[in-house]
Symmetry: C2
Subunit: 287 residues, 2 copies
C-alpha cells in the first residue's frame, strides 16, 4: 500500500526500530515526527525544499578548521542556548553557549600572564576563583579562556593582524583555587555575516551583534565541566544577544581601577580595568 | 530576565518577527518551535549536540558537483517523499523523489536514440506518452530521463567506467505526445554508503537499497512539471525502498519481447525487454 503524507512518518519511525543503540533510536524516532510535522504544518513546497537543501549545503561547506557555521546556525536558532539550559548545573555558576570560536587549542599560560599579544589598549585584569558548591576552593583545576580583541575580532578571524593564540589561554588554579590573567576589555561584535547564516540574519532583519564577553571552560578534579561567559556590564546588546545567551548572573562589572600599587602588583599601567569572577562547579554525578 | 528552556523558544520566534518575506517568516517561526520541542523532548545532551553538529558538517562537506549528501539525508528521513506527497498532483501521474543524482544536464537526444553507451546487456525499449488529464497528447513537451546502469551505478559514480551522460537523455514529445528510447533495465542498487548518511544507515541497521527504477521529469507547455519514476515490477526492495519512494501506480512491467519485427523497428536485437509509460500532467494553476 502506498505511503500517504501521514503514514510516511510511521514508516520512517519504524525503519529505525532495529537501531542497536537505544539512545540513538530514541533521538531519531523523535526527530522524524518533529521534522515531518513541521513540513506538513507549513506545507513546504519543492522550491522551498530545494532552497533548504542549498542552504544547509552552503552552511556545511562554509565550515573549515577555523570556522563552524553549523554552530553559528544552531546559535542563531536558539538551539545551542536551549541545549545549554537543559543541561546546565542545578546549583553553581550558570552555563552559556560554547560558540563557534573554540576552534584552536588555547596556549598553556601561567597565572599573571597576558592573553593580549597586540598591546595598545587599556589593560584589564581578570581575577577569579574556581570553587565547589560548598565554597571550598578547587586547586588543580583548569580555566580555558578565549575572547575577541578590543576591536571585536577573534584571532582566527584576523590571521594577518593577530597572532594565533591572541585572546586565548589555558590557566591552572592555584592552591586556593585562584587564577588571574591580563587582557583587554573585549568589544561587542557581530557574529560572522559573510556566510549563509549572515544571509539568514539579513533576510530576517535581525542584527548580528553579541554583547561583549569572555568565554570560559572551567574544569576541576571530581567536578563537572562548565562552559560559560562573563559579560561586560553596560555593553550594547546585552538585551538582544544574537545568540540568546545572556544570563543576568553572568554579567560582571569591568570597573576602572586607578591605583598604582595594584597596577604594579598585576604588572599593568594605571588606570586599568578589572573584573573578578567566581566559577562554582557541581561535583561529578556518580553513576 | 533570563531566558528559560521554555521562554527561549518564544524569544527566537519573536526574533524573526521583522522578516520582510511573510512566507520565510512563517517557515522560520514554525521551524523553531518544532526543533526546540524535539530538543526538549529528548533532552539532548551537549555531547549529542556536538555529534549532531559534526554529522551535519560532514554531510555538507560530502557534497560536491556530483554528490548531494543533504538530499540523501532528506531522502532516508522520508522528508523528500513527504514533500513530494504534499505537493503531488491531485490527478494524473503520481510524483516521487528527485533523488541525489540529477546533478548533470541530460544530453539532448532524439526519439529512438539509446541512452545506454556501454552495451553488452540485454536491450530495453521504453515507449511513452505525455498526456493531459483529459487524455489529450501533449506535443512540444520534454522528458528528462536518468537511470543507473545494469550494474546499479549512475554515470557520475563511475567516471572511469561510464562516459558522462550514460543513462541520461532529454527527449521531446512528438505530435502525438509520444517519446521512445533504448536503454538497459536498471538494477536495484544501494544509495551511496561511503559518506555520513551511509554511516547513519549502518548505525541504525537499515539497508541502503532502492528497487530498480528510471527517473523522469516531464514538462509540457501550459502544464505542471512532474518529477517521478517508473519502478521495475518484480525488483527486490519494492516493499522496503531506503527512501520510501514507491507508489504502486508507478510500478511497470518490463516484459521480455521475442519478436524480430518489433526488434527491427526499434533497432535492437531480439529478445529485448520493453516497458511503456503514460505520464499524465495537470494543467498549470492559474494564479
Amino acid at each position: 500500500m502506498d505511503l500517504t503524507s501521514e503514514s510516511t512518518t510511521a514508516a520512517v519511525i519504524e525503519s529505525f526500530a532495529e537501531t542497536a543503540d537505544p539512545r540513538l533510536r530514541e533521538i531519531l524516532q523523535e526527530l522524524v515526527p518533529h521534522l515531518h510535522d513541521f513540513v506538513r504544518k507549513v506545507r513546504l513546497t519543492l522550491p522551498e525544499w530545494e532552497a533548504a537543501i542549498e542552504f544547509l549545503t552552503a552552511v556545511g561547506q562554509r565550515c573549515d578548521a577555523n570556522r563552524q557555521e553549523f554552530i553559528l546556525l544552531s546559535d542563531v536558532l536558539g538551539i545551542s542556548m536551549l541545549v545549554e539550559t537543559i543541561n546546565g548545573q542545578e546549583a553553581g555558576t550558570e552555563s552559556t553557549v560554547l560558540g563557534p570560536f573554540h576552534v584552536v587549542e588555547s596556549p598553556q599560560r601561567e597565572n599573571g600572564d597576558t592573553i593580549d599579544l597586540l598591546g595598545g589598549n587599556e589593560p584589564c585584569v581578570i581575577t577569579g576563583r574556581v570553587l565547589g558548591i560548598d565554597g571550598a576552593p578547587l586547586p588543580g583545576g583548569t580555566v580555558d579562556v578565549w575572547q575577541c580583541s578590543a576591536d571585536g575580532f577573534y584571532d582566527v578571524q584576523q590571521p594577518d593582524v593577530q597572532p594565533l593564540g591572541n585572546g586565548r589561554g589555558l590557566f591552572h588554579t592555584d592552591a586556593e583555587g585562584r587564577f588571574h590573567f591580563r587582557t583587554v576589555v573585549p568589544s561587542h561584535y557581530p557574529i560572522p555575516t559573510d556566510g549563509p547564516v549572515g544571509q539568514l540574519l539579513l533576510a530576517t532583519g535581525r542584527h548580528p551583534f553579541r554583547p561583549a564577553h569572555i568565554h570560559f571552560i572551567a574544569d576541576a578534579p571530581g567536578h563537572r565541566s562548565l562552559t560559560t561567559h562573563i559579560f561586560v556590564a553596560g555593553s550594547p546588546y546585552l538585551d538582544s544577544d544574537a545568540v540568546f545567551a545572556v544570563k543576568q548572573s553572568l554579567v560582571a562589572e569591568f570597573a576602572e581601577v586607578d591605583d598604582a600599587e595594584q597596577a604594579r602588583r598585576y604588572g599593568v599601567s594605571s588606570p586599568f580595568r578589572a573584573a573578578s569572577v567566581d566559577i562554582v562547579l557541581e561535583a561529578d554525578r556518580v553513576g
